[in-house]
Assembly symmetry: C2
Homo-oligomer: 250 residues x 2
Amino acid sequence: MLSKSRVKYIQSLYHKKLRDEEGCFVVEGPKITEEFLLHAPDAILSLYAVKSWLNDNEALIKRVDSSGVFLIEEGDLKKISSRSTPNQVLAIVKKREERHEVPAPPGIFLMLDSIQDPGNFGTIVRIADWFGISSILCSKSCADLYNPKVVQSTMGSLLRVDVVYTELTDWCKQNTGIAIYAATLHGKPVYECSPVQNGALLMGNESKGIQPELLRFCKEQLTIPRKGKAESLNAAVATGILLSHLVKQG
Amino acid sequence: MLSKSRVKYIQSLYHKKLRDEEGCFVVEGPKITEEFLLHAPDAILSLYAVKSWLNDNEALIKRVDSSGVFLIEEGDLKKISSRSTPNQVLAIVKKREERHEVPAPPGIFLMLDSIQDPGNFGTIVRIADWFGISSILCSKSCADLYNPKVVQSTMGSLLRVDVVYTELTDWCKQNTGIAIYAATLHGKPVYECSPVQNGALLMGNESKGIQPELLRFCKEQLTIPRKGKAESLNAAVATGILLSHLVKQG
């Protein structure tokens, strides 16, 4: 049985402030925990799982120090999980070292201005990973990468994509040589845009879009032409569509 | 105050069986309720809202019969809502008449084989609406269109897109003239595909993909080329990307 203080400690990691202080976060469920065991076993500080999962994953578990592996009951898992239906296993994982710079060209990277929905944010990290984009530059108003719903939506891609939080306006002032393409509702149809070798795609907030001050730094505004009547597209879907057109022959 | 039987009735509509029997479903929150008030006021059977929302929407509310509009307290809203944080207003809406046929060409429509996540399913309806696609043909194993999370993710687009549930394999046997493009992981790069004037885009289940029996009926398999390491893309994101390339000059 888990001690009360351990339960309390794990629950505390569902708050950003405590995650920042402790430098670690929670990963839940078999799929993503297995990703971490495979690709970043050294980052796993401790692992809590029910018996059936431990039996099924003997080989994988050998990748981490056995003193950090705990067999627990469903009842305890429920106490430490953020989900209404917990799923077999949960791990405490060390954050990667924070990066403060974005790699120089060549290549495309993403800029996110206030993407606040955790599901959207995590899905965008996964999209970046699919298209081989290694860096995302975020405004500080974006969701926290280590929020449990973000972690879940990345499906493990947060292992491979650098996410850097910064003041976007200041950053743009200091990096005027970067070609920034902004996603807006009234730009040039993305279908007419040539593939981009170097530059950034900037996506804005789910309801307010990109802050006007940032638009000043953009080389071009791009739009996904609408043929029907939906008011907008989901932010992650729009990111995927725009990226696919920008990288297609790159 | 709402009667116990009324509360119980509304709660029952969170179950598909009861929605099917009653022919109605629940819509929650200002944005989507306002969409229904604007575009389908006749479908609204009753509306439950807190005072501030009623005060702010006097003109809109006039579009429905006043005998169906109820001023309620936050406490009652919490009882009838499916959300942990209810949002001002909730309406009971009559389902549209079920359609059993898909319109003939010209145009593109969507086919969904077992899209089970409600958020993905609703987001795909919204994407269809953006690209002017009026019909979606679904396997019976797809999520229910009137599930509260699906309704929410459509952002009102379920008002404009016909969603038809059918046995996809039987349907394909009877409609061999339709050019079906299947989304798979090992098909032709979608970037090389010419825009499609008539036909269907077929998307498969989030983890299992398209059932092999259905693939036999497809004209071509299409893939979004991967440059990075993510195992897959979210199903709604992939739908958006593929559609954008198929319709781009159509």
